[in-house]
Symmetry: C2
Subunit: 155 residues, 2 copies
């Protein structure tokens, strides 16, 4: 079973901005339950369908399939739950780790999170100084949760 082992953090300051370039991501959901989320994603001219299972600690089953970009666009516009998630993703290499930093737009503007994929659950990692509070496993920060409960509405 393919799994992702991932930790997620809030981002503080702008020290990371000079370290990578951003790419616009559009994504939406056909299912947003934590037990079985189904995501459609469009990045430039590539479409993806991604299925994730329930997170157990930092580990989660993940199956990803590339699909035609035009069909990904149709699924996003016509079938996915609305609104869609719009964000810019920056890839930053730091201490032999690749950080993916998502700066959200739309109803989630103001939210910036950094994710790092690990090879094993208890891998020690060096945290850059622009890494803030850890939010791994907090369901509010799931992209699937941000559709119905966007950051702008958090109290």
């Amino acid at each position: 079973m393919p799994v992702e082992i991932e930790r997620k953090f809030l981002v503080r300051g702008d020290g990371w901005r000079a370290l990578g370039t951003g790419m616009p991501y559009r994504q939406g959901y056909l299912s947003t339950t934590p037990e079985r989320s189904v995501r459609v994603r469009l990045v430039r001219n590539k479409g993806y369908l991604t299925i994730k299972g329930l997170a157990v600690g930092v580990t989660r089953a993940e199956y990803e399939y590339e699909i035609p970009a035009d069909e990904a666009g149709e699924l996003l516009d016509k079938l996915c739950e609305q609104p869609l998630i719009e964000k810019t993703r920056y890839r930053v290499e730091c201490n032999n780790l690749t950080w993916e930093i998502d700066e959200f737009a739309g109803d989630n503007a103001g939210l910036i999170v950094a994710e790092v994929e690990l090879e094993k659950e208890h891998q020690a990692i060096a945290l850059p100084d622009w890494i803030g509070q850890e939010v791994t496993g907090d369901p509010r920060y799931y992209n699937a949760s941000l559709v119905s409960n966007p950051y702008s509405q958090w109290t």
Copy 2:
């Protein structure tokens, strides 16, 4: 947008049985809402992921992608809503139309439905004498509905 135009009927008698051979189908759902169902299907050594939108009359958006059979099996066993749908599908050619006849097992044993895919919405079709009541558009007969409300529990 790829669409399926399909009519669905109950089946009466056994006159159809001699006309085709059956193949076992295992399928399950990652989403069962009528607006966006996501189906995983395993037929012999082929896996499929199929997304369907809301039915409008006899027409429904449908996107299908082949996926590795072993991953389809994992998705069915570990991520899909339970129980799975188990059925035998028979393909029967009749009057230049292909009928797909599903004989359900498990909690849906006793239910046999026939589907025919059309080229256009108002296509005239000749109904074989083993075709019974039309159930097109009746959500109880959606395979996705049969997971949570199986035929054996209908009153």
